[in-house]
């Protein structure tokens, strides 16, 4: 079993490194929760639930896309970078994501504008609340189960048993000691589960894109919307992964070793998915534009041409495509953690705005003459960000080996392109 032995003192010391950030994260969660409750009590439930939905979609996409990066890398047997193992930390958000999805039920009347409408041609069967929640819960459970099974085998291949057995590690260590795993068998299972996760990722995120985003305008559709959703998840997942890696690399108490070539590879992947995301957006746009069918164009015109949404659309385009494309053409920029952190923060912010742009006109914002951004949007976003930070730190505390260089990796510019 590939593992770096760690003494109890070392592991305890490493877990204390994140104590300050952990407390800050809890503060963000409490503040966001207070903001959500305040918005409900102040008679703005539409704003509160809209912000909840936008943030649920974004942060779940980060978690799902992050693990997808690890699964993709696991299909390349000799890719020895720290990024895939670090990406697995985002899977700690999976159980939270499932609970947050169930938390949408009380706010259904504010986030599903099709409730109470009559539809023809079988759409009323598809757009029914019990069926929607049932199929989406089943989909999330399937996706997260595959992801956590993949993680189970991946952890066994990496984690040592000399670290203190606390919490989740004790439970895992108990299972592993009863099973006497074989490295080759577990590596093969991880490979297969990685592929199954990616297939489920594409299918489930397509379904979620159709149900939670596209259905907000129930009379509009785009067949590429599902693919657009999961490509966006990989894009934002890679961005968040780079932010996490750079933060751990820069942080003086952690100083995670990451070589320039790893940043360059991650930057190239980010550029590729930036182009792919923009391309999938354009594919939908050009077909709708050329067909000029009112049933299809209304959605696009509202969000890209009409005020006030055209300003937000331009901002999304700049943050999500123009800036990343121009910056990531340069090789040296990819090796600067601080620059990449700033760029990826802009990308994640752009994707937040993109989710908002897709949903808000349908969720009470259609008649607005000014952008209906409210104080509740950033405050509630803080809660989700705090939860993400907290669970990722929890994972890193449980499995501090994640911060160790990959065995046999080529560091310090000795390899890679």
């Amino acid at each position: 079993m590939g593992a770096t032995a760690m003494t109890g003192t070392e592991a305890n010391g490493k877990s204390k490194r994140f104590a300050g950030v952990g407390r800050l994260a809890w503060g963000m969660v409490l503040l966001g929760l207070a903001g959500f409750v305040a918005a409900l009590l102040l008679g703005e439930p539409q704003i509160a639930w809209r912000a909840y939905l936008v943030n649920f979609l974004l942060f779940s996409a980060i978690a799902q896309g992050g693990l997808a990066v690890s699964a993709m890398a696991s299909t390349v047997h000799v890719y020895r970078s720290s990024f895939p193992q670090l990406a697995e930390a985002f899977s700690a958000f999976f159980p939270v994501s499932l609970l947050l999805f169930l938390g949408l039920i009380p706010g259904a009347e504010y986030i599903f504008p099709w409730l109470g409408q009559d539809f023809a041609g079988g759409k009323d069967l598809w757009l029914s609340l019990p069926f929607l929640f049932t199929r989406d819960v089943v989909a999330f459970v399937l996706l997260y189960a595959l992801g956590l099974m993949y993680l189970y085998y991946s952890l066994w291949l990496r984690v040592g048993q000399s670290a203190p057995q606390t919490g989740l590690r004790t439970w895992l260590a108990g299972i592993w000691s009863r099973r006497s795993p074989n490295p080759e068998t577990y590596a093969n299972r991880r490979f297969v589960l990685g592929i199954l996760y990616l297939i489920a990722f594409a299918a489930v995120l397509s379904l979620v894109g159709y149900d939670l985003v596209m259905a907000a305008e129930p009379h509009w559709y785009s067949t590429l919307f599902g693919a657009y959703t999961f490509i966006k998840a990989v894009f934002v997942g890679i961005g968040a992964l780079i932010i996490l890696a750079a933060a751990l690399h820069i942080n003086r108490s952690v100083r995670m070793e990451i070589a320039s070539w790893e940043y360059i590879d991650a930057g190239k992947l980010l550029l590729a998915f930036c182009l792919l995301w923009a391309d999938f957006f354009y594919c939908q746009l050009v077909v709708i534009w050329y067909g000029n069918i009112p049933e299809e164009t209304a959605y696009v015109i509202t969000r890209t041409v009409q005020a006030p949404w055209n300003v937000m659309a331009g901002t999304v385009f700049v943050l999500g495509f123009v800036v990343p494309f121009l910056v990531l053409l340069n090789r040296r920029v990819k090796t600067l953690p601080a620059m990449m952190t700033g760029l990826c923060c802009a990308i994640v912010a752009g994707m937040w705005l993109e989710h908002y742009l897709l949903l808000a006109p349908a969720l009470g914002g259609a008649e607005s003459t000014v952008l209906p951004l409210s104080w509740a949007d950033p405050v509630i976003s803080l809660a989700f960000l705090g939860i993400m930070i907290r669970v990722v730190l929890g994972y890193l505390n449980q499995f501090p080996e994640t911060l160790e260089p990959v065995a046999g990796s080529r560091l310090h510019g000795a390899g890679g392109n």
Partner: protein, 168 residues
């Protein structure tokens, strides 16, 4: 002086080892004449402290030129006829992006090829170097010159770093 110097060829299986050998050569009497290999190696390029290639600028300029040419070409031909199709503007930016993108890729590729040819000063008739034949296959070669008296030391130095050494 040339009469007192010998040239050794060291063949490495991995580019990183060749690059490390280049970095480890600090003796002023040992001169790295050239390094060759079957594929470009970033590690060797960095070890030699080579200047960044300007070919990328040819690619960028080609791409930008192609984008402008694509839009210009599509707009020009549309304005020659001024046909209104499906109520769309004669010069339509949305679909013309496809033409612009394709020509951007084409001109970027052509720019890269032109840049490569110019930068490597091809065709180089009568300027052939005697590179080890293994460097066109699966080895990275380091050609080093040293005084004849230091031949043994250089050979041992290179073999320590995983090279198979022969005298030229």
């Amino acid at each position: 002086m040339a009469n007192n110097t010998v040239t050794l060829t060291a063949l490495f299986q991995e580019d990183v080892r060749a690059a490390q050998a280049v970095r480890d050569i600090t003796s002023p009497s040992w001169r790295v004449e050239r390094v060759c290999g079957p594929v470009p190696s970033e590690a060797i390029h960095q070890a030699l402290r080579g200047k960044k290639t300007p070919v990328g600028w040819f690619t960028l300029i080609g791409g930008l030129l192609g984008l402008v040419t694509g839009y210009g070409f599509a707009s020009f031909t549309s304005l020659r006829w001024e046909l209104i199709v499906s109520g769309k503007p004669v010069v339509a930016l949305v679909p013309f992006l496809i033409v612009g993108f394709e020509l951007a890729v084409l001109f970027a590729v052509l720019g890269t090829v032109i840049g490569l040819i110019l930068h490597t000063r091809l065709p180089a008739y009568g300027d052939e170097e005697d590179n080890p034949v293994e460097c066109t296959a699966d080895r990275f070669g380091l050609v080093v010159q040293c005084p004849a008296a230091e031949l043994g030391e250089l050979q041992a130095f290179l073999e320590e770093r995983g090279a198979w050494v022969r005298r030229q």
